[in-house]
Amino acid sequence: MIVHLLRWLFGYYDISVEGKFTERFINLAARKGVNMWKLRNINGCICFCTGKNEWNTAQSAAEKTQNSIHIVKEHGLPYILAKHKHRSGLLAGAVLFAVFCKVMSCFVWSISYQLPEIINEYEMQEILSEYGFHEGAYRESLNVQDIIDKISLKDNRISWMTINIIGSCAEVRVSPDTSQSLNRRDISQTSNMISAADGTVTRIKVKNGSSKISVGDGIKKGQMLVSGVMEYNDGTNVIVDSNAQVFAKTARSAEIKIPKNIEVPVFSDSAAVKSEIVFFGIKLPFSIQDTPDCNNIKTAESEQLTFLDSRLPLYINSEILREYTKKPVVLDRQQAETILKNKLSLYEVFMLGSTNQGTVLQKKISFSESSDSYILKADYEIEEDVCIRMPLKVVSGDSQD
């Protein structure tokens, strides 16, 4: 393979020799150091290939052995260059391309992320951009270790981070700080646990402190549930940082109203699309349509192109504008119920998210109608952890000798 490449680089000839003493020619040419390959005897005529530099030697050997020799074809890079020597633009383009590749390879164009669930990709992009690490950044100007140190110190969610730059591609890997999920607290602090809501106690789990309530007790908001003062049988008291979970049944209620007469958007079939291609940070619009004059809703999409699992520095951003008109509608009972139940589902998601490990035990829904609106009332019985921590301030008294 390498030999073929070298022969092509330096150039070689297809040569034909004919005469009465072709074997003598072969022997003499070989003795004189002419390298021959692909020798063929075609109807008494010897055809072979030899290097460009050996033509003169072969020619003298042919003359000595009274054979006629001529070049059938030329091969190799020197002849290709000679053939295209008038096309200076081709050479200039090749040189420019090589320079372009060399210059572009000095920048980071593709960043891939391996992140835990607590940090999303856009957030990490913003954080890295603050320290100058983004697509299109000059590689030599990036102090990767410095960036890693600063981000790891600043963001408590990150325990370990690495940025690997290979060529123009970078890979960012982050490991989360799992110590926060263990709820480690500063043991030098002391606290009580108090109730966040009214309810009835169903379960108690005390890890530290002394419990002041038992299962079945009614509790009020602000009532102390677990004390940080632990009393021992010998009369000594120790103040600790209390830690407990107290589950209680609590009540929540919600009321949602919608008017009977509402305006709904009716979308037209047509949509205006504005698209642009972003290449190495340069934006080139390739589809432009007028923004509709009447009401419209805009949705934006951005797609990064990939090739063989590698992200390219090529994005297609699209804005889709859809016209709509508002149409007045009078809701009937069934439609109103459906809408109200959908809103209630959304409320439940946020409501449960605001509780601490809350689960719905019972739910009662009632639907009513007034002169101008429909009303949905929901009453919930929820079991949740109602403990919240209240720090204790410990003031030391003057000691008497």
């Binding site: 072709t22 074997e23 072969i26 022997n27 070989a30 003795r31 004189k32 150091g33 002419v34 390298n35 021959m36 390959w37 692909k38 020798l39 063929r40 005897n41 010897i46 072979f48």
Partner: protein, 87 residues
Amino acid sequence: MKKSKGDQGMKMPAFMANLGNVHMDISGNHEIILEGGKGIVEYGDKSIKINAGKYILAFCGRGLHIQCMNDSDIVIHGFVTSIEYIM
């Protein structure tokens, strides 16, 4: 390496040159690498004869051709049916 008088220009070790032997590598019946040959006596599609000094090596077959050669080494490709030593 000691060279004998009659072996100027040959690249073989002296003991082989004195024996007048060529070194032949045969791969199946389709490739022959010959080292130490002294020239081509006959070159054709069905027969190639090489001067080995004290004798002539004749390769017979079909589609025979010299793949590459220099002053002392020859590579023959083709379908070889017989090899003769002609004294």
